[in-house]
Amino acid sequence: MSQPTSDKKDHLIQAFRRLLPAEAVLSETEDLRPFECDGLSVYRRLPMLVVLPDSIEQVQSIMRICHEAKVPVVARGAGTGLSGGALPLENGVLLSLAKFKQILNIDPQNAMATVQPGVRNLAISEAAAAHNLYYAPDPSSQIACTIGGNVAENSGGVHCLKYGLTVHNILQLKIVTVEGELITIGGETLDSPGYDLLALMTGSEGMLGVIVEVTVKLLPTPERAQVVLAAFDDVAKAGEAVGAIIAAGIIPAGLEMMDKLAIQAAEDFVHAGYPRDAKAILLCELDGTNAEVSEQIMIVRDVLMESGATEVRTAKDETERQIFWKGRKSAFPAVGRISPDYYCMDGTIPRSQLPLVLRRMSEMSDEYNLPVANVFHAGDGNLHPLILFDANQPGELERTEEFGRRILELCVDVGGTITGEHGVGMEKIDQMCVQFQSAELSQFHAVKAAFDPEALLNPGKAVPTLHRCAEFGAMHVHKGQLPHPELERF
């Protein structure tokens, strides 16, 4: 794409100023700075312009103006994404949804809520609490991240195994297309006519449309929730215990695992009462009716003991339950305190592969001489290895990135995926070439073209071009096989 001429920029500024108040059109470098990266701050880039609309009509007009001028647009929620999805384009407009903060309607009779895209995840549950309802997906970033971002990433949380991901908990979206048209997808009903575009939009990383309204499903707050903490002297045993709980016919509301480094970091940070000397802990939350929870706690305790837990503790009250969870939910910042930098990975594997993958990661950790703290959604096999490094040490970032790539490839090798919930964004674009073949990538591009034929929405993210994969493949022969052999090499 050609460098934007300052003419083009001026033209856009003028068009936007006619539409928006002066403070909602940013063009000076110091004003653009806060938008230069998302939660993955190793990637930074200043956008040409930032716009902050506060009505759907304004978003439509912005899209029309950009479409006409052939200027790419990147939507942004709270910028907590961890894959560079909201990374701006230097010749593009950054469209912030930060002003869309209203909860439009809570409908307790039908257990649903309609909100603007910039509403924070936690704010929905807070507003619904008066009706004993809540919104189930609870990413650890829930105090900050927006529902629009959650939909764009199909975000998960610690309660996904039982209550599903974002895709399972939304009913309707209003989106503005690249041409500025407003479309309703899904409905205030359990399903709707036509193709399941709701599923397609969820997790589409801002590539198919701008989400301007979201209707979510609300669930009744369970009668009771209890969390059991189990300590293990061996990570593999903890991994086995996860499968054993499921084999016992129990679907915990949350089933999380942390290894020694993560336990100690969390303990130092929030004093959650975790056993500091354990090699791994499992947090197993059970919720439901009183009777159900009582019964399941007994079963889970037995299973954990049989799986070789050295200690099994049930939170004695709600305060202790919250503290147990606080340790887990603040694991990332906790690790941030013990290392100058950390890099969070997000692969998902079949649960049975957990012991193998943990062993291989520990071997690689030695090989690269970089420590790894493991925090993960064990119940659904979603790993979050945190690689500790110091970006100021020459070469460490590069070593870290290579280590991270190898972890993701390991996940693909054992039948898993490169990303469970953080998205591909800019970060994992090359690993898409490992997970998918040319036909699939071409199909993704064709789907994108059905929504956005000129590729103006968040271009360059999420799905690599076949040429990029060919170049990547030339540098990276996997198991002796060239990926995408049909393409010429350059």
């Binding site: 409908d107 009779q109 039908n110 199909n154 996904c160 991901l165 895709v167 399972h168 297309t177 048209e181 479309i183 309703t184 009903t189 359990l190 399903d191 006519p193 036509g194 193709y195 399941d196 575009l197 599923a199 397609l200 997790g203 609300l218 009744p220 499968g243 499921i246 084999a247 129990i250 439901g288 009716t289 009777a291 159900e292 019964e295 998902t348 594997i349 079949p350 649960r351 049975s352 959604h377 096999g381 979603n382 039948g415 995926t417 990303t419 998205g423 591909v424 898409m432 997970q435 998918f436 073949q437 036909a439 699939e440 199909q443 993704f444 064709a446 789907v447 994108k448 059905a450 929504f451």
Partner: protein
């Protein structure tokens, strides 16, 4: 063996694309009457059968699309597991592929999720004769667009499903159905209200003056919940939920057109003449009526919902609720992106797809 059949299907599709022929994809033929009439040569995938992978600890089953649904459910039952969306069979030869392509879900749907909610991955043959894999066998996967869930309810118009991976769940330890006399207004209020109560409900239905509520979970939790709800325990022998799921209740024994109307669960009774059966806590309403298509669609829309002509009447008209213009265009473009020569199930869903 499977890969040989894959190759065979692939070549058939490539040839059809060249010759301008059309295919009507058939698994067991159990749902041939659903959707619009569609012509085209039969593309039989019933030979494409067998469970490829199932480990109860992973909560995932992977099977070829032609696998009989019965085999899948029997296999899961042996390990105390189930397809939680309670798929309707509508005939003994229902296959996994047809189940997902039609995207139908049974009585547990509002409480456990729909067919598409349980789809984790698929192997798909598109209209260019390319075999592709999307999603996978893991619970969480956001790499690439969610093409596998897009296939649920697409009625085979986007491609041939070759293999599917679904999430499965443990069967509840105990289950009881309560039945009490009621009227539509009270039943709607009770049933929709239960959606926001922390009770182990996994089915609720009203018809012919009776309200049925199914409770499932641990034994004690079902006993406790029973005390909080009205009604007498219904004998298991009535097989009420199975007969509801399969449209075998006397309500469905009727020559009038059968409409499926989906609205917000708490919606008041709709002012449409005919016989009603309310399922899904009030969210899915079956109407057997001679009222005109226009009237039914108009009223359903006024109530924020939509109507499908499920059975009977004219199967060459629009049986699914027509889509608004921009959405329709998007559907056509998506169809073209998967099936550029419009080979698969032409017109089965909408005339223009």
């Amino acid at each position: 063996m499977s890969s040989r059949i894959d190759e065979l299907l692939k070549n058939q599709v490539r040839q059809a694309a060249k010759d301008g022929r059309k295919f009507n994809i058939v698994g067991g033929g159990s749902k041939a009457w659903l959707g619009r009439d569609s012509d085209g040569e039969t593309l039989d995938i019933s030979q494409h059968s067998g469970i490829a992978d199932y480990d109860p600890r992973e909560l995932v089953i992977t099977a070829r699309a032609g696998t009989p649904l019965q085999i899948i459910e029997d296999t899961l039952a042996e390990s105390g597991q189930m397809l939680a969306f309670e798929p309707p069979y509508f005939g003994e030869y229902a296959t996994l592929g047809g189940t997902i392509a039609c995207g139908l879900s049974g009585p547990r749907r509002p409480y456990a999720g729909s067919a598409r909610d349980f789809v984790l991955g698929c192997k798909l043959l598109n209209g260019k004769g390319e075999i592709m894999r999307f999603g996978g066998q893991v619970m969480k996967n956001v790499a690439g667009y969610d093409v596998s869930r897009l296939m649920a309810g697409a009625y085979g118009t986007l491609g041939v499903l070759l293999e599917l991976s679904l999430k499965v769940l443990p069967r509840p330890a105990s289950s009881v159905t309560l039945c009490h006399e009621s009227n539509p207004n009270d039943a709607i209020q009770l049933m929709s209200g239960l959606l926001s109560k922390p009770l182990p409900v996994d089915g609720s239905c009203y018809y012919k003056g009776q309200c049925y509520i199914r409770l499932s979970g641990s034994k004690q939790s079902v006993i406790d919940a029973q005390k909080k709800l009205p009604g007498e325990v219904l004998s298991l022998r009535s097989q009420f939920w199975e007969r509801l799921r399969e449209h075998e209740l006397s309500f469905f024994d009727n020559d009038k057109p059968l409409w499926r109307i989906v609205v917000k669960p708490a919606s008041k009774p709709l002012p449409l003449e005919g016989e009603w059966l309310l399922d899904w806590g009030g969210a899915q309403r079956w109407l057997s009526s001679d009222a005109s298509v226009e009237t039914i669609r108009k009223i359903a829309q006024q109530f924020g919902g939509y109507a499908t002509l499920f059975r009977g009447a004219d199967r060459t008209g629009e049986v699914f609720q027509p889509l608004a213009q921009p959405l329709q265009l998007l559907h056509q473009r998506l169809k073209t992106s998967f099936d550029p020569d419009a080979i698969f199930n032409p017109g089965r869903m909408y005339a223009e797809l």
